[in-house]
């Protein structure tokens, strides 16, 4: 068991997702995808939905993937992954790690039904959601993961709804493993991927992946913003193992949400003349509710 824990905590770097992709400098999603691929290892099939990740990493003749890679439509990455898993079963091949991956749009909106179906049917697939809180690939349109108060091209005055709580929705399907992670703690992220892959059945990992372009921050701040998202309480880090909340990551030192919001262009309207103090107070309220709910 001890050795197993050591193996899980080990940081992996295997160059399975290589240089030369066309992501912006400091892209959180490229970083997250690389960490996931390095953790899962060579014996992996990636089924990736349409989105930034597919666009910047797969064009001919220089894909970044060094593992089998299937690109599907926006809505059916998990359906394709289910099919791959069923085919492996029918051919009596394997075992193999099958990872369906998608952005927040394909997870929460367009591909929601196929994910829900995959969870319900109980396929042995890990679904990884790279959450950058809007449709970045098509020009920063609002998705149902866009947080309260954020400006996107379709919500120029700031988003009026709260973010959909996908990890809890996934957990309510009764799947064995759900986790959230950010790119700043790569050890934790890779441990969660490895833990998930060691469990039989559908799994869901939700990774916060800042988008320098869509969020309006400099590429060098990607990791720092993730850290602030954790330390403000806006993005709680936890695991749900067999329906029970576990391994909640405590906040090291609580930070007011302004620190997090100020770094990002998508919240800059809140701090300008005529900016809304109520909106900031509401975001702080959301953070406080998270802290209370998950005991951060």
């Amino acid at each position: 068991m001890n050795q197993n824990a050591e193996e899980l905590n080990k940081v992996e770097k295997k160059d399975l997702f290589t240089s030369g992709h066309r992501a912006c400098g400091g892209c959180g999603q490229a970083l997250a995808a690389r960490l996931v691929q390095d953790a899962s290892g060579e014996n992996t099939i990636a089924c990736v939905a349409t989105g930034c990740l597919e666009v910047f990493s797969s064009p001919y003749p220089d894909p970044s993937w060094r593992i089998p890679f299937l690109h599907s439509l926006f809505e059916n990455a998990s359906a394709v992954a289910s099919g791959v898993e069923a085919a492996y079963k029918a051919l009596k091949k394997g075992p193999v790690n099958i990872i369906a991956q998608g952005g927040d749009g394909s997870t929460a909106d367009i591909g929601f039904q196929s994910i829900s179906g995959m969870f319900e049917r109980g396929h042995n697939v890990l679904y990884v959601c790279y959450d950058n809180e809007a449709y970045m690939n098509t020009g920063v349109q609002r998705s149902s993961f866009t947080p309260y108060g954020a400006r996107t091209s379709t919500t120029p005055m700031g988003n009026k709804t709260r973010k959909k709580n996908m990890p809890l929705i996934a957990a309510d399907h009764g799947i064995p493993y759900v986790a959230t992670a950010t790119v700043d703690d790569f050890r934790d992220l890779q441990r969660k991927v490895k833990t998930a892959l060691s469990i039989e059945g559908p799994k869901y990992i939700h990774i916060l992946a800042p988008c320098p372009l869509g969020w309006g921050h400099h590429g060098e701040l990607t990791v720092q913003i993730c850290r602030l998202a954790k330390d403000t309480g806006l993005f709680p880090i936890y695991e749900i193992i067999d329906g029970k909340l576990a391994n909640v990551k405590k906040i090291r030192a609580k930070v007011p949400v302004e620190e997090y919001l100020k770094l990002q262009g998508r919240f800059s309207h809140l701090f300008k003349k005529g900016g809304s103090k109520e909106t900031i107070a509401e975001i702080q309220n959301i953070a406080n509710q998270n802290i209370e709910r998950y005991n951060l």
């Binding site: 240089s19 030369g20 400098g25 400091g26 003749p61 790569f186 590429g219 060098e220 850290r227």
Partner: protein, 550 residues
């Protein structure tokens, strides 16, 4: 024609990498910056270097060799240095600075215990250099020259070598065997030492100048200066230097029950604490307050712990004599007015506030001066030797360093000057154009990413109980535990030098940081680096810097 499989199947060997490095506007580079501790060290020690060796390799021997590259007296400095390095330590803005001084002493003591020897860089050269004075400056200069193969001879006026380290520092701070062993280690490099020879009195200075290729003056400021008040020539009035020298040579000094020490510098503290150990009640008389005292804070604290009375705002006007012996001082109270030239508040007497303090002995620790007997040289303000920026005096081929140049300063500054003078002497003899190496910029705490460090409690050295301290001249800080010191060295932030945390390697979204197979160090793959700056931002120790494209 070859039959292709259905659909597009790509083989990895057909992959053409797309070099995203062309997008870059700023490039990351690895720069070994100067840490603030090294920058603040007057002896020029590589503090970060030896701390990292302790923390990573737990190797005291290597740490000792690193430290003695610059400083031949680690065990002495670890005891007496006021450690400006700790004032510079970037950890002060995070939790508490590192106990660098304790680490230095532990490393120095390890060297003494295991009898580690200095290594010579070059075997022998024919050029000869004379060093006048065997204090920290003289020995440091001799050490660095001897390492480079020069024939060095030290002339010492006293009967034993060490200068102020031998005669000015009481043994409860620095026992004599420590100094003796470190001196013997330097002498084993082939340095010649002749004691009881006062240059300018026993040998003419010009003779040395003709016999040797270069001369180094490190005679220090060994002459006590007393304040000019009536009665200062009475037989039970000492200067601070004189008193300490007598005690340190093992002479019994009859001081009686009440001792008054005049002055607020380190010598005053030493005299007071020595007198206390000889069984007297001690009063320190100082005309300003504690804030203006030039002595090291820790010394003042320790003196207070040892129940030495401090009388501030008090200025002696006259020593009261009875049959040629002092029986007390007449003092006047002062008040502080606007600062004088030295930046300290200017004391002004309050009229009618005269008071009498009884005394069996009066020690005047009110300043020191250079003894220029028989040595003619250009001076500054008629006090200190004039030198140019390469420590050469007005006389060609004669260099100087230590207290005689810098005024009353620390052992470590004298060591640093000795080292610089050694380089300058080598350049002078070889006819090189003097050059100084460009120094990398110093890392300030704002540039560090302290998120990756944990607050850890500082190692505090434990003094013996005051009761035990006052019983004799035994060292007040017993030997430190070696493992504790390694734990303390592990607190080092390693400002400006990679310590293999792997952040740049793991955080690069473009996989453009590679680990070199040969050196194990991290390198940038500029073909693919997009220059986002994430690695530089997340580097805890500011080793990575973003610069303009080259």
């Amino acid at each position: 024609m070859e039959k292709l499989p259905l659909g597009l199947v790509m083989e990895l060997r057909n992959v053409v990498p797309y070099k995203t490095g062309s997008w870059r506007t700023l490039m990351p580079i690895n720069v070994m910056h100067t840490p603030p501790c090294n920058h603040a060290c007057p002896a020029g020690n590589d503090i970060r270097g030896f701390l990292r060796v302790l923390a990573e390799k737990k190797d005291y021997e290597q740490a000792w060799h690193m430290l003695t590259r610059t400083n031949p007296f680690p065990a002495v400095c670890g005891r007496v240095c006021p450690h400006p390095c700790e004032g510079g330590c970037n950890r002060r803005d995070f939790d508490e600075p590192l106990a660098i001084n304790c680490a230095e002493r532990a490393v120095g003591d390890y060297g003494l215990e295991n009898n580690l020897k200095h290594k010579k860089l070059i075997e022998t050269r024919k050029e000869k250099v004379a060093v006048i004075g065997s204090g920290p400056a003289g020995f440091s200069c001799a050490f660095h020259l001897a390492k480079r193969g020069f024939q060095v001879k030290i002339y010492e006026a006293n009967s034993e070598p060490g200068g102020m380290m031998r005669y000015g520092i009481p043994s409860y701070r620095q026992p004599n065997y420590v100094l003796k062993q470190e001196i013997d280690n330097i002498l084993s490099l082939g340095v010649e030492l002749e004691c009881n020879v006062k240059v300018g009195v026993n040998i003419p200075f010009d003779q040395l100048r003709n016999e040797y290729d270069a001369v180094f003056l490190g005679m220090g400021a060994q002459k006590g200066v007393s304040i000019d008040i009536p009665g200062k020539d009475a037989e039970n009035v000492f200067t601070g230097v004189e008193f300490l020298k007598q005690v340190n040579t093992g002479k019994w000094v009859e001081i009686g029950n009440d001792v008054v020490v005049i002055g607020g510098g380190n010598t005053a503290m030493d005299c007071a604490r020595v007198a206390k150990r000889l069984g007297a009640n001690v009063n320190i008389v100082y005309r300003r307050t504690r804030n203006e005292m030039p002595a090291i804070t820790a010394e003042i604290d320790e003196a207070m712990e040892e129940r030495i009375m401090f009388r501030y705002h008090t200025n002696p006007v006259k020593l009261v004599l009875d049959e040629g012996r002092v029986v007390g001082l007449l003092c006047v109270q002062m008040e502080l007015r606007e600062p004088d030239a030295s930046g300290r508040a200017r004391p002004v007497p309050i009229s009618g506030s005269e008071a009498f303090i009884p005394a069996d002995t009066v020690i005047m620790a009110t300043g020191q001066a250079v003894d220029y007997d028989g040595i003619e040289i250009q001076t500054v303000d008629k006090r200190w030797i004039y030198t140019n920026e390469y420590l050469m005096t007005s006389t060609e081929g004669v260099f100087a360093g230590g207290d005689a140049v810098a005024g009353l300063e620390t052992v470590s500054l004298a060591i640093g000057q000795g080292m610089r003078a050694a380089s300058a002497i080598e350049d002078y003899i070889e006819g090189n154009k003097e050059s100084e190496l460009a120094q990398q910029p110093v890392v300030i705490s704002r540039e560090l990413n302290t998120y990756y460090y944990q607050p850890v409690k500082r190692y505090e050295k434990e003094a013996r109980s005051i009761h035990m301290r006052l019983k004799g001249f035994k060292e007040i800080y017993p030997t430190f535990d070696q493992d504790d010191i390694i734990a303390e060295a592990d607190r080092c932030f390693s400002c400006g030098l990679c310590f293999d945390c792997g952040n740049c390697y793991m955080y690069c979204p473009d996989n453009a940081v590679k680990k070199s197979k040969t050196t194990g160090l991290y390198e940038f793959d500029y073909d693919f680096c997009k220059g986002c700056g994430l690695c530089a931002k997340e580097c805890p120790c500011h080793y990575i810097q973003m610069t303009l494209e080259k």
